[in-house]
C-alpha cells in the first residue's frame, strides 16, 4: 500500500510575486535616475513594491502561524523547520542588515557631501552678481523710459498711439504701452508687428506703480532670454496715464544670467530635495532590505518544507511499521540522499514484509503441526509426557491423565518433585522417571506396576531423549501405555483355552463314570450282603454326586470359555435391579436399593445382565453371612460426563485383601470356601462384552464395593 504523496504546494504564485517584486525594485532603482523613462512610474512602483512586500509579509505570517501550530502539536519536522527558518533568517538578516546600514550611511554622507557652505555662498554670490549686473542695465532703462514718458506728457489718448510708434523707433524698447489708472490699455506698439496683445502688467505691478509712481522688473521672456519691464507715470496728462516699456536683455547677457539662474535654481532645488532624496533612497533600500528578508524567510520555509517532507514521510512510515503495517510504501519524489533514504526504507519494509510472511507461514505450519500433534496426542490412548532438561513437564495428553488418573494438564511447568508433592500417588512413577532420565541418556523401556486406590495397572514405559537440530540434548519424552487389559485378555484367553480343554477332557469320561456307577449299583443290587450293599450304594451315590458336581463345574467352565449367544436390547436397568432386589428382599435383612429417577436405557442382554447382578448380590449375601448387622446397598446413577450408568453393589462384609484385589476377577480366584472361582470372571466377561467395566473398591471400615459402568444408549 503506497502512502499518499505529500501534497505538492504551489509555489508558482509566490515565486511570481517574488520575481515581479525583484523586477519592480530594479525598475524603482532605475527610476530614481532623473533621466529614466520609468521616472513617472516611481510612485506606482513604490505602491506595487509595498503591496508585494505586504503580500510576502502575509505569506510569512501565515507560514509562521502554520509553524507555530505544528510546533504546538509537536508535529514531526516542526523543530527542524523552525531551526532551518531561523538559520536562514539569521544568515540573511546579518549581511543584509550590514549592507543596508552601510549603504544608507554612505548614501547620506554622499548626499551631504554634495552640499557645502562655500558652494552655497558661491552660488548666492553669482546670482547676486548677475542681479547687480542687470540692475545697472535696468536703471539706465528706467531713465530711458522716463525720457519717453516725458515726451508723451500732455498728449491726448488719440495722439498717444502715434507717438508711441515714433518713440519705439527711437529707443531700444521692444514694446511700448500706455495704460489708464485702472490698467486699461490706451495705446500700444511692438517692434514685432505680429504681436497684437501687449504684455500687460499684473495687478501687483500696477499697485506698486500707483504707489511709487514707477515700477521696474526683470522677467523671463516668453520663449527665451530675459526682458525688463519698466512702468512710469506720464505726467501732466488730463487723465492719469502710465507708460510701460519692455526691453530685451542682450542675448549674451541673458544667456549668462539664465545659466547662472538655472545653476542656482538647480542647486537650490537639489539642496531643498536633500531630505526627500534621503527619504527616497532610504525607502528604496528599506524595501530592498525587507524584500530580501521576507524572500529569504519564505524561501527558508519552502526549503525547510521540501527538506522535511521526506523526513515526515519516513516518520509516518516508521510509525506505521511500528504499528505493524509492513505494507507501507513511501513515495520517492527526489533523487538525493533523502530519496535514497526513502528508497532504503521501502526496501526494508519490503524485506520485513516478506520475512514476516515467511515467518507467518512458518508459524502457521508450526501451529498446524502442533495442532496435528496435539490432536494425535489427545486421541492417543497412550500417555505422552515431555520434559525439559530440568525435568519440568512441558506437554501432556489426555491419555496420560486417564492412565495416571491425575489431571497432569494443570502441572505444565512443574518439576517432577512438584508433581509428586501435588499428587503423592504418583511418587513411585516420578521416582522411576527421575531415575531413568538421569541415568539413561538414550532410549529405555520399563514395565511398571502402578497402584491406585482401587486397582493396579501395568504400565509399559518408553523413554527417550530429545535432540535439537544441532544435536544438543533439549529434553525428554515418555510414552507409556496401560497394558493391564492386554495382559488381562491374554490371561482370559489362556483361561478360556484351559477351561474349554478341561470341559472337553473332563466331561467326556464323566458320563461313562456315571453310567458305570449306576450299572454297578443296578447289577450288584441284591447280590451283596447288607453292609456291602450299603457301601456300594453309598459309593455309587457319592460317585454320582461327584460326577454331577463335576458336570456342573464343567458346564461352568464351558460357559466361561464359550458363553451363550448374547441378545442385547434396550433395557431399563432400574427396573431390572428392582426385580432382582425384590427376589432377595426376603432373604437379606438389610438390602438398600437406591435408583436414580429417569435413568437412561442401556443396550444389554437382560438375561446375562440379570446373571451378573444376581451373582454379585449372592456374593455380597455370602460375604455378610457371618457379619452382624450385615448390609447390602445396591445403587444406580447416571453419569453425564461419561454418558454411563454406574451400578454399585456394596456390602459391609470382611472385604477383600489387597493381594487379592488385582486378581479377583481372574478364574479360580475366590475368598470363599466353596465355589469354582469362575463367578467373578464370568461377571467381568459379561460386563466387558456389554462395553462396560467393573472394578472393586474397598469400603471403610470394612466391606467391598463392586462398581459397574455401562454405556447408555445415545439418543
Amino acid at each position: 500500500m503506497a502512502s499518499k504523496p505529500i501534497k505538492k504546494r504551489n509555489y508558482l504564485i509566490p515565486a511570481g510575486v517574488l520575481l515581479s517584486l525583484l523586477f519592480s525594485l530594479y525598475l524603482m532603482s532605475h527610476a530614481t535616475q532623473s533621466s529614466s523613462q520609468f521616472n513617472e512610474l516611481f510612485s506606482s512602483l513604490i505602491v506595487v513594491n509595498i503591496v508585494g512586500t505586504l503580500f510576502l509579509l502575509g505569506l510569512l505570517i501565515a507560514n509562521i502561524r502554520w509553524l507555530w501550530k505544528q510546533f504546538k502539536k509537536q508535529a514531526v519536522g516542526s523543530r527542524i523547520t523552525a531551526r532551518i527558518v531561523l538559520l536562514f533568517f539569521a544568515i540573511s538578516v546579518i549581511p543584509t542588515g550590514i549592507v543596508f546600514y552601510f549603504s544608507n550611511q554612505l548614501l547620506h554622507q554622499s548626499i551631504d557631501s554634495w552640499f557645502d557652505a562655500q558652494i552655497d555662498d558661491a552660488m548666492q554670490n553669482s546670482l547676486t552678481l548677475s542681479r547687480r549686473s542687470l540692475d545697472n542695465r535696468t536703471i539706465s532703462l528706467i531713465k530711458e523710459t522716463r525720457q519717453i514718458a516725458s515726451q508723451l506728457e500732455g498728449q491726448s489718448d488719440i495722439f498717444l498711439s502715434l507717438s508711441l510708434v515714433g518713440l519705439l523707433q527711437q529707443t531700444s524698447a521692444v514694446e511700448l504701452t500706455a495704460f489708464s489708472k485702472q490698467g486699461q490699455i490706451i495705446a500700444t506698439t511692438n517692434i514685432d508687428p505680429n504681436v497684437l496683445i501687449p504684455n500687460t502688467p499684473d495687478s501687483s505691478m500696477l499697485s506698486l506703480l500707483r504707489q511709487n509712481g514707477e515700477f521696474i522688473g526683470l522677467e523671463p521672456g516668453t520663449y527665451k532670454g530675459l526682458i525688463v519691464r519698466t512702468l512710469v507715470e506720464i505726467k501732466h496728462s488730463a487723465i492719469k496715464r502710465y507708460l510701460q516699456a519692455i526691453y530685451t536683455v542682450p542675448e549674451d547677457i541673458s544667456e549668462l544670467a539664465s545659466s547662472v539662474e538655472d545653476a542656482y535654481t538647480a542647486y537650490q532645488e537639489f539642496n531643498y530635495l536633500r531630505n526627500s532624496l534621503r527619504f527616497s533612497f532610504t525607502l528604496t533600500l528599506s524595501l530592498v532590505l525587507v524584500f530580501s528578508l521576507l524572500a529569504a524567510s519564505w524561501v527558508a520555509f519552502v526549503f525547510a518544507r521540501e527538506l522535511v517532507a521526506p523526513i515526515r514521510q519516513l516518520v509516518t512510515g516508521t510509525k506505521a511499521v511500528a504499528a505493524g503495517d509492513y505494507e507501507k510504501k513511501l513515495k520517492v519524489g527526489r533523487q538525493d540522499e533523502l530519496g535514497f533514504l526513502v528508497n532504503s526504507f521501502n526496501e526494508m519494509t519490503s524485506r520485513i514484509l516478506s520475512a514476516r510472511v515467511e515467518a507467518r507461514t512458518a508459524q502457521k505450519d508450526a501451529e498446524a503441526q502442533h495442532a496435528y500433534l496435539e490432536t494425535v496426542l489427545s486421541h492417543l490412548s497412550n500417555g505422552v509426557l515431555s520434559f525439559d532438561l530440568s525435568l519440568r513437564l512441558k506437554t501432556t495428553n489426555r491419555g496420560a491423565n486417564q492412565i495416571l488418573e491425575q489431571p497432569l494438564t494443570a502441572c505444565i511447568g512443574f518439576s517432577l518433585e512438584d508433581i509428586t508433592n501435588k499428587f503423592p500417588e504418583l511418587q513411585s512413577f516420578t521416582s522411576l522417571l527421575i531415575d531413568h532420565f538421569s541415568t539413561k541418556t538414550h532410549e529405555w523401556q520399563h514395565e511398571f506396576v502402578f497402584s491406585t486406590d482401587d486397582q493396579k495397572k501395568t504400565l509399559l514405559l518408553k523413554g527417550t531423549s530429545l535432540y535439537a537440530t544441532d544435536q544438543t540434548l533439549s529434553g525428554y519424552v515418555l510414552i507409556f501405555d496401560d497394558v493391564t487389559p492386554i495382559i488381562q485378555s491374554q490371561r482370559n484367553a489362556a483361561w478360556s483355552e484351559v477351561a474349554q480343554r478341561l470341559a472337553h477332557e473332563i466331561k467326556n469320561p464323566l458320563t461313562p463314570i456315571q453310567l458305570s456307577a449306576e450299572r454297578l449299583q443296578r447289577k450288584l443290587k441284591g447280590l451283596l450282603d447288607d453292609d456291602a450293599d450299603k457301601i456300594l450304594k453309598k459309593s455309587t451315590d457319592t460317585i454320582a454326586q461327584q460326577v454331577a458336581a463335576m458336570k456342573s463345574m464343567v458346564n461352568d467352565f464351558s460357559d466361561f470359555a464359550k458363553p451363550p449367544e448374547s441378545k442385547p436390547q434396550a433395557l431399563h436397568i432400574g427396573q431390572l435391579i428392582d426385580d432382582i432386589a425384590t427376589l432377595y428382599q426376603a432373604q437379606i435383612k438389610q438390602l438398600n436399593v437406591t435408583i436414580e429417577d429417569n435413568l437412561p436405557s442401556v443396550f444389554a442382554d437382560s438375561v446375562r445382565l440379570r446373571q451378573v447382578l444376581i451373582n454379585l448380590i449372592k456374593n455380597a449375601q455370602e460375604a455378610i453371612s457371618d457379619t452382624d448387622n450385615g448390609q447390602i446397598t445396591v445403587s444406580a446413577h447416571h453419569h453425564q460426563d461419561t454418558q454411563s450408568i454406574e451400578i454399585c453393589i456394596a456390602d459391609n462384609g470382611p472385604g477383600v485383601d489387597n493381594s487379592e484385589l488385582e486378581h479377583i476377577f481372574e478364574p479360580y480366584v475366590t475368598s470363599k470356601g466353596k465355589g469354582t472361582g469362575l463367578g467373578l470372571a464370568i461377571v467381568k466377561k459379561i460386563i466387558e462384552e456389554h462395553g462396560g467395566s467393573i472394578r472393586i473398591k474397598k469400603v471403610e471400615p470394612q466391606g467391598a464395593n463392586f462398581v459397574i459402568q455401562l454405556p447408555v444408549i445415545n439418543t
Partner: protein, 175 residues
C-alpha cells in the same frame, strides 16, 4: 483610497483649493470654460516653489450624465494643466499653460495664484454635451504630485500639506 482620505482629513485647513464658480458657454460652436478657482498653497508648497520646485496644477473637466438606475456616466474627461514656477533671478512667478504654452509673469505669488485661478473663456474643443439627458459639468482642481521631482513624491503622498485638491464643482449643463 482610505489612506488618501485620512491624509486629506489632516490637511492644513488654510491650504486648499476651492472652486467658486464655473460655467461652460457655447460660442461659435466652441465651448468656453470660465471658472474662479481660489488657490491657497500650503507652507510646504510655497517653500518648495521658492526653492525652485515647479508646481503643476491640473484642472479636470468632465461632463456627467446623471442616470436614475445606473451610476453616473462621465463624458469627455479633459485635463487642463498649469504650471507655476519661481524665477530666482527675476524674483517673479511664472504661470504657464501647458496646453497652449502661454506664459505670464507675476511679481507676487498672490497675483500669480489669482491669475492661475481666473479662467476666462478657455476654449474647450474636444467636448460634446449629450442632448436630451440630464447632464452636469464637473470641474476639479488639484496639485499634481506626480509632476513633482521624483524624490519628493513618496513624502508628498503622505504629507498633508501636499494634498491640495478641490472638491468637485458641479453645475447643470442642460437647464
Amino acid at each position: 483610497m482610505i489612506w488618501l482620505f485620512s491624509v486629506s482629513c489632516f490637511a492644513d485647513e488654510e491650504a486648499n483649493i476651492t472652486i467658486n464658480s464655473a460655467t461652460l458657454s457655447l460660442q461659435d460652436q466652441t465651448f468656453l470654460l470660465s471658472a474662479d478657482i481660489n488657490y491657497k498653497l500650503s507652507d510646504e508648497a510655497v517653500e518648495a516653489l521658492h526653492n525652485g520646485v515647479t508646481l503643476t496644477f491640473n484642472i479636470d473637466l468632465s461632463v456627467i450624465e446623471s442616470r436614475d438606475w445606473l451610476w453616473d456616466k462621465h463624458h469627455n474627461n479633459i485635463t487642463l494643466r498649469y504650471r507655476i514656477q519661481y524665477h530666482t533671478l527675476a524674483e517673479t512667478y511664472q504661470i504657464s499653460n501647458l496646453s497652449s504654452n502661454a506664459q505670464h509673469n507675476f511679481s507676487s505669488l498672490t497675483a500669480a495664484l489669482h491669475a492661475l485661478g481666473s479662467l476666462r473663456d478657455i476654449p474647450i474643443h474636444a467636448i460634446a454635451i449629450p442632448e436630451g439627458y440630464n447632464t452636469q459639468g464637473s470641474i476639479t482642481a488639484y496639485l499634481n504630485i506626480e509632476a513633482l521631482p521624483l524624490p519628493m513624491r513618496p513624502l508628498a503622498y503622505i504629507t498633508a500639506g501636499w494634498y491640495l485638491r478641490s472638491d468637485s464643482f458641479l453645475w447643470p449643463l442642460n437647464p
